[in-house]
């Protein structure tokens, strides 16, 4: 009898030991990066079949995958997969508000400008009551394609869709500024600041805030480079020249870590990451 009891206690101790060991191993393992959430994309028709033939359900299921991805740790390959997913969602349900919102605020910063614009243009048609998709197409034209005139055209389309007179006035002012002054990094940074301010609190907002911060830094570098050229009659050969000349206290820190560099003509730009 005591032997049987001992055997039972031993069995319980072994099982508890295995459980404790498994937990300790799992506790030391790092959380998997964003890649697995986005890696697999299935053809559109397959997505519909897996959703009981319901394209809206397929759009939502793909949308949840996009929403749970950690934007802060995405690689270019992740951005490419997310772009495909978001184009799929846009095709399944072009009026999906979360989809166009994320496509506007994340995809172009990861180099997926065409995909972002495609999602946005479909949303412009599918959401006649919403001025934001047209605004984002305008911003893509202005900032990512460096086409202020085309951007202003889209901002005027957004102004026509806006219901609130204050929104209409604000959009018309932006369009007039872009048409008159052309592209300006500081203006782009201010707009991204405004987008971040209107974003829900959390990782998504801080993602946009980082983008705005590095645009402000780039704007400061460009202004310093302009003053340098006026002072010396030629462009700086390296960024440290701007610090040495007293135009900047230090080279600004890039919040996403890629840093800044000069083009051959001496214009400060982002280093590609």
């Amino acid at each position: 009898m005591p032997l049987a009891l001992l055997a039972r206690c031993l069995a319980v101790a072994v099982v508890l030991g295995i459980y404790a060991w498994s937990l300790s191993v799992l506790g030391t393992q790092r959380k998997a990066p964003a890649t697995p959430e986005l890696l697999v994309t299935t053809p559109r028709v397959v997505q519909i079949i897996f959703s009981a033939g319901d394209r809206y359900l397929a759009a939502n299921l793909a949308g949840f995958r996009v929403l749970v991805a950690e934007t802060g740790r995405m690689t270019p390959a992740d951005y490419a997969v997310q772009a495909k997913l978001q184009k799929d969602i846009s095709w399944l349900n072009p009026a999906h508000e979360d989809n166009y919102y994320i496509a506007a605020n994340i995809l172009p910063w990861g180099g997926e400008v065409d995909a972002s614009e495609e999602v946005m243009r479909l949303a412009v048609i599918a959401r006649p009551m919403d001025f934001l998709p047209a605004f984002h197409v305008g911003f893509i034209q202005y900032h990512f394609r460096r086409s202020p005139a085309e951007g202003a055209k889209w901002i005027m389309i957004a102004a026509e869709k806006a219901v609130d007179p204050a929104d209409q006035w604000g959009l018309q002012t932006i369009a007039a500024k872009w048409t008159e002054l052309g592209y300006d990094t500081n203006t782009a940074a201010q707009l991204v600041d405004a987008m971040a301010a209107s974003a829900p609190p959390g990782g998504f907002r801080s993602y946009l805030q980082q983008r705005a911060k590095r645009l402000h830094s780039l704007a400061r570098l460009r202004e310093a480079a302009r003053l340098f050229s006026l002072r010396h009659g030629g462009a700086p050969s390296q960024l440290s020249d701007l610090v040495a000349d007293g135009l900047l206290p230090e080279i600004p820190h890039d919040p996403i870590g890629a840093g800044f560099t000069l083009t051959p003509s001496g214009e400060p730009v982002f280093k590609s990451n």
Partner: protein, 267 residues
Amino acid sequence: MLQFWISGLRAGLRGKSIHSVLLMGVALLFVAYLSGSFSPRQPRTVALDMGLSGVRITLVLLNLFWIQELLAKEIDRKSVLFSLTYPVSRPAYLLGRYLSVLTMSALATVVFGLALLIAVALSGGGYQQDFPVNLGLPLVATLAGQLVDVSVVAAFALCISTVSSVPVMSIATGLAFALGGKALGATMDYLGAGADNDQQLVATYGPLIEGIRWVLPDLSRLDWRNWPMYGAPLQSDAVTASLAMAGAYALIMLGLASWAIRRREFS
């Protein structure tokens, strides 16, 4: 016919599998409520969207189980012979059963519609969407569209039951029909837009889908959720044509079922 309608209602509300599907419907609506919290901009729209998908799946399953319970199993167990001893025609028996399923389907739509209303109202907490969902007439119209949609599925399953010797056949083919009919519109869109530049796919499946669309109704045409979700108004001519398509298809199925049951030997 009236007695078949009433007995159908009784039998339909008794089945254990039906109770399971009803519970599944409630679970799907709870999932819809939870799914709203994933959305940063439109929690109520997402909850409504997911909920409508859940209601459609539940209604399809309920209709198929009802058809199986009220007709396919009766035929399989030969208990249909007791029903047919009444001095009424076989098509009247069939129609009575179909009307029972339609009635229970309408009741289920009302119940799930109310549950969906509560789930959507509770989702999103205090967040005010820029574009609120419309839970009035647009939602009622959308649910009515889903009811018409599943009525066509039920008519198809009924027709299969009259010719099949295996009760589960009506569920299996009914599910395939519900999925195919719902996916047909999107598939035609996909092929029509060039299938991501896959010319071979278009060449292979284009003619096939072009043929299928004449025998399989495009049930996605009865999905009007863009109205409550995005305020996109319905186009009256498209709605009329969709309802005519659904009604005519259901009548054809009922006609075929009546023809088949008249000629079927049960002994």
